[in-house]
Symmetry: C2
Subunit: 342 residues, 2 copies
DNA sequence: AAATAAAAAGTGATCGATCCACTTCTGAGC
DNA sequence: GCTCAGAAGTGGATCGATCACTTTTTATTT
């Protein structure tokens, strides 16, 4: 039934024979159509079309030692960076690269090992790591490696790490509303983004002379937010919670309600990610809108630049995170400061 | 600095020379280590280790005409099937395949065209389509193609289509609570799963002699749920909403609240997907837990079976969807039937 | 111990493209 | 009409594996 489809694809030699030229001429045609005499070009063009010829990319790769393929390494887990991935893969395709997505079970060492294997297999021209990896294992790979959570030369944080400014803005805003005692329910500390937000949180609390009741190391889950609130001693004085993301924030809000605390009347809660659900929740979540597509695009752009040997890949699209104030934040119960409600 | 890493990787011939055997013997060692004399095997083993040899997979592919690579084709859009993808890629790796993820902009025809191109490029041994594609274009590809939303030989629905039973269960349950007038806010009708749920919804309404106030064709977004409720005429009598997914359900609930209707007092709402956020929302969302990993695993298992030429790929792990009753559903305002609250 | 079968190892061709070192056109200038 | 530079075209080598065959070694039987 599918015999027609299964017939062996035609080769460059068959095209050459039909066109009455040598295989080298066909090869030239494939790489640069303008470098041929118009008459010759037409003959080849016709033969290619007649035989429905497609170059065998494996054979090409073997000879050129380039595969035109990139690998993106992810961790398996609750956080699948789908939007970044889609954007990254889009940009890569436009640049003539195919994208292989490798999601690896296990920790940073397992991922580093897989990266090593990928690099040596000769199957990819470059690797983008979208999750933390063990540095030691990845010294000299032979192919460019970009880590989406690393810094650029000017120590500007990129990709996953971006967001320090937003944490500052959140804490400062809550402080201006009159909040004095904070709680941070952090994300899985294996993630650079979680570590970064945690440290910026602590730093800002310190700088503003506020009080942090503590940092709960969570795992990005709603349950971790719920449990954090459930474990809070009565009268601890916490009036504002900075959650690792919207899901955690939702758990926090539910935990509060189940203890009889209303949000935002008794407790203000900030999320992160601007998920669609949080916008329609009650109370609607105050959060940070993250341009995930830009993250993905920038990361791939950096990788492509490194592959081409270009030195400084200035992020063409600047990642813009935006703090969004909705209903889950308000002045604390007995705000003594002048309530500068937004 | 990275000179050590950039040196040309060693070949099978170098290993052979160091081991004092022929390259064929090394090749044999690579495919089946047990087929060698122990003494020879040790020599080769040593040489492989000493040179840190890794076979060049491109060269291997060229000779064997197998790439050990599968492509998974996705649509770009709000629905990124991350969990299915991760599970699928995991299973594929265990079977010795690498996975290339191709997300394609545009509609079913664009995806079909890309699939055609992939198949002919000789770069993949099989293709899994995780989104709807235009059938006509994909007649004879030359490589196996599995569509995750299609049926198996026994016409049991698989993958995305699974879920008919759950829609029935939801409507029957709501009916047993006393609801008579329903609304369905459907997902993007380009998705097979959305079409399937819609038709099962209508069929069940019909079969039970209930009344459907209508079906709103949405786009999986919270806004579409919100708008559906906002557009509802007063006194339409709708007391139960079956939403396309949890996000839509959240929009519905918010829309109801903004009209002064309380959920579940005035309106019952069912979601789909069992997202973490819905569990902690207030009211907690009644929903359907979907085993996305199983979907991904099953789809890849079918593809692998087809590649191997095995005929009947019995789904080793059966997809189990589970209807979960939480706080967003209750008897209607003036339930005249016997309220059989769960 | 010789005959024979079976297992192990070696030889050279092959996959389908690109690239290198040449040879053969083409056409402008005198 | 001739020369000659440069463009266009050619044949064969090459990339690094596997595979079909052939040859050598080892094991088994009589």
């Amino acid at each position: 039934m599918t015999d027609a489809g299964r017939k062996r694809p035609s080769t460059i030699h068959e095209v050459a024979r039909l066109a009455g030229v040598s295989h080298t001429t066909v090869s030239r045609y494939l790489q640069d159509k303008d470098n041929l005499k118009p008459k010759t070009r037409l003959k080849v063009e016709y033969a290619v079309k007649a035989l429905d010829y497609r170059p065998n990319l494996v054979a090409r790769s073997m000879r050129t030692r380039r595969t035109n393929r990139l690998a993106i390494v992810l961790a398996t887990g609750p956080h699948f960076p789908g939007r970044q991935l889609a954007a990254a893969s889009e940009v890569a395709h436009q640049a003539g690269y195919q994208v292989e997505v490798v999601s690896v079970e296990g920790g940073p060492r397992a991922r580093a090992a897989r990266i090593d294997e990928l690099a040596r297999s000769g199957q990819v021209d470059g690797i983008l790591a979208m999750s933390s990896i063990d540095l030691k294992v990845t010294k000299s790979l032979g192919v460019p490696l970009v880590r989406s959570e690393s810094h650029d030369e000017k120590l500007r944080v990129l990709g996953d790490l971006a967001g320090a400014a937003e944490v500052r803005e959140i804490v400062e805003h809550l402080s201006s509303l009159g909040h004095r005692t904070f709680l941070h329910v952090a994300g899985d500390q294996e993630y650079a983004s979680a570590r970064n937000r945690k440290s910026v949180y602590l730093e800002t609390i310190e700088r503003l002379g506020l009080h942090s009741f503590g940092v709960i190391d969570g795992d990005w889950s709603g349950q971790s937010g719920y449990d954090a609130i459930a474990a809070l001693p009565a009268g601890c004085g916490v009036t504002a919670v900075v959650a690792a993301n919207d899901v955690v924030a939702m758990g926090v809000i539910r935990g509060a309600r189940d203890r009889g605390w209303e949000v935002p009347r008794d407790l203000s809660v900030f999320g992160w990610d601007d998920e669609d659900m949080g916008r329609f929740a009650t109370p609607a979540l105050s959060t940070v809108a993250v341009d995930r597509e830009a993250q993905g695009r920038n990361a791939i752009a950096r990788l492509l630049a490194e592959i081409r040997g270009e030195p400084a890949p200035e992020p063409s699209v600047h990642t813009v995170n935006r703090v969004i104030h909705r209903e889950s934040t308000a002045p604390p119960p007995q705000a003594d400061g002048r309530s500068e409600a937004q």
